[in-house]
Symmetry: C2
Subunit: 428 residues, 2 copies
């Protein structure tokens, strides 16, 4: 496109926060290879702004975009329907497509990439994972020379805000959530964030791009962060750890057709890159066979960071052409492994009486699991006493069975909280 | 290249640590679009290994590589001569070139890019800055949608190793240096690292790529880290800071034809991404007008991380073709600004007597500079007493003049140490 100096024409479909940011960046003079030509939105008259060039076509009819000669369609309407269908039809109509829609790419990305390949058109989705953190380009181009074996990330800014608030000020989950809602970081219904569905979609995309495996997004096991309590940060601190919602996918040499994947609250060593991301920022840490650990961090959400990701994809299409090579990278389907080996943190809350530790120790011992440490902070009511058992590295399936048995004891005031302890280069 | 399934042929020129790593990655089966065809090195018979395919040509004659039909020349001989000339001639002969040679790119990059453009061949140099940290691709492709206003980095692993050792164990500069030398992190002559020449070259490259300005590399002002003492970490700690060799380049809206640039020991808030990189790792932090702060971190040196960077460049050429678009990105020449505004840290070492603080306060006051704090740790000899004055944000040129006057007092046992205090989003 650049060669003959004709800019690519761009249609923005969905003129919300991100759409407006993309328009603003495109109209700012820094991108001569790109030209905004259409804005498409429901009730478009209410959306119209006066700071875009007067020749931009405003329409509420996607069919009009489709039948125009626009080069690239930027899909920013969100949701799975009709976005998936619109992206497919745009590719079939010979348009390149850029989207920031994580649900569409996580659940239908493999199909859409196949459509893109068969119609020889690019499909960019840098904005679908971790907003402004350029991890898709960073991994695909910057680490193309490596072979990645693990991708991990702090992929949900709301969870990270809540957990860092609980850590730094000892507030409860509910207070931290309410604060996040008041600041606009969390939705009125925070389920997608705190239960892990948002991170699940992003992890599925990262697995496809980084590990070259596509997995059934809904099969990635999730654990909520709602059961984490302020006391867990105190106990984690004794292990020189903090607690984060960690999304993790890892190849397993013993299972070439599968990858381990999970999204769950995790004890993370304070020295780890994952522990050092505060507030609503995101980080992605990848491990390569040759290059070791590389980390990318930045703003994971917000109109402007996501707008930058979208325009970066548009620039890639301007450089390489509508039929450029990125769409051609297909990933292999893979099963999901849920079992893993590592140390574990288990926090019980009990009505105190003699013999509790002995009963639990007996259960773990019968399952062949070694207790590494027991922590019990003073000053708690005997009716609702929290204490922690950490286990030496062992199979998660064994812990699961031992926990099932432990949970049956009537001294439990509520179910035990089980978190893996992340092992890093330094701690392994 | 990929389209017709013929792999790109690759000549490795210079078969040292990085060259061997590149060969190993290329021969590992993960890069079907690339084929190692030549290895060129002085006294090549001594270098030959048995784990590359038997059809690879081993030669000690660069002319033979040049006259062959090889597609890409990987320059890894190091040094400015004859590397610069060889890269130029390879481009002129119609080869794409990949290099990890920071001195060549820092001092002759603009010329070589012009040769690359005029011969329509790509020139890749991801490995020339921060080894395995994919910052060139990350900035060029991943942040193509943003307009960067600042690049900062911890670009020299040796300095970072020394400073983190001084910080964590209170050892002297000399002990930390000796330790780094024993571990092979530092050269017998550490000048290029500790005085900043290595980081200077990398910063010049980052300015060209990130800020789109090329500057005269040797003009970037340097300050050595050899004058930093263990006590400075104690005083920095009181300001919730640590000390790092920070490389920094920043646009100045008032001077569109110039950029601020410097490499110097700097007080860095502990919460900053720059403070959190330990040992020999590197980090690059960029600020964009739209996307805010994005950080890239990883292993800054070493055969395998640098090898990954080289192979990532080779893959980019395989995707986009020998004449791909990356080479076309030219930067504008710019002057270097050395003056800056910010808070300052000044550590004096004096032979104690009454009235010293008063004399210094008088000097600063006459220059219109406000003292922010004075720190004096107990327990030091009166003959060689270190203490610190911090100054409120002011022009560096004013501090320079005040320091010249202060240094003339005969109570100084050695010259004062002056470091800027980095302001981050959080502290500004």
């Amino acid at each position: 496109m650049l060669k003959n100096n004709t800019p690519l024409t761009v249609a923005i479909v969905g003129f919300g926060t991100v759409g407006r940011s993309v328009a603003r960046i495109l109209c700012d003079g820094g991108h001569p290879a790109l030209k905004l030509s259409h804005v498409c939105n429901r009730r478009v008259a209410q959306k119209q702004v006066d700071w875009v060039p007067s020749d931009v076509v405003w329409t509420d009819d996607f069919e009009r975009v489709l039948s125009s000669d626009v080069d690239v369609v930027v899909e920013l309407i969100g949701g799975v329907d009709p976005a998936t269908d619109w992206i497919r039809r745009a590719l079939q109509a010979g348009k390149a497509v850029v989207t920031a829609n994580k649900q569409v790419i996580a659940h239908h990305g493999a199909d859409l990439l196949a459509v893109a390949v068969s119609h020889d058109r690019q499909l960019g989705f840098e904005g679908a994972v971790a907003g402004g953190v350029p991890v898709i380009h960073g991994v695909r181009e910057g680490l193309a020379g490596d072979s990645l074996v693990r991708v991990m990330g702090i992929l949900n800014g709301t969870c990270n805000y809540i957990l860092t608030r609980m850590e730094s000020d000892g507030v409860s989950f509910d207070s931290a959530l309410q604060e996040a809602q008041e600041l606009g970081f969390a939705e009125a219904d925070p389920t997608a964030d705190v239960d892990g569905f948002d991170a699940q979609a992003k992890l599925a995309i990262l697995s496809a791009v980084g590990l070259n495996r596509h997995i059934n997004t809904s099969d990635i096991p999730l654990r909520t962060i709602t059961t984490v309590e302020a006391i867990d940060f105190a106990y984690a601190g004794k292990l020189d750890c903090t607690i984060r919602q960690v999304s993790r996918a890892e190849v397993d040499p013993a299972h070439p057709d599968a990858i381990f994947a999970s999204v769950q609250p995790t004890l993370v060593p304070r020295s780890s890159s994952l522990a050092r991301v505060e507030g609503s920022r995101n980080v992605v840490v990848v491990d390569g066979r040759f290059g070791g650990e590389t980390a990318f961090s930045g703003f994971g959400a917000g109109g402007d960071p996501t707008g930058v990701a979208v325009v970066s994809d548009l620039e890639a299409i301007a450089r390489a052409g509508l039929a450029g090579p990125t769409a051609a990278r297909a990933s292999e389907p893979a099963e999901i492994l849920t079992a893993f080996v590592g140390p574990h943190y288990i926090r019980f809350v009990v009505a105190d009486r003699p013999g509790i530790i002995a009963s639990l120790a007996d259960v773990f011992s019968r399952h062949g699991v070694n207790i590494d440490s027991v922590f019990q902070e003073p000053g708690w009511s005997k009716d609702e006493l929290p204490f922690v058992v950490t286990l030496e590295s062992c199979e998660s399936t064994v812990v699961e069975r031992a926990l099932e048995e432990s949970a049956a004891f009537d001294f439990n005031v509520r179910p035990p909280l089980w978190m893996p302890v992340l092992q890093t280069e330094d701690t392994r």
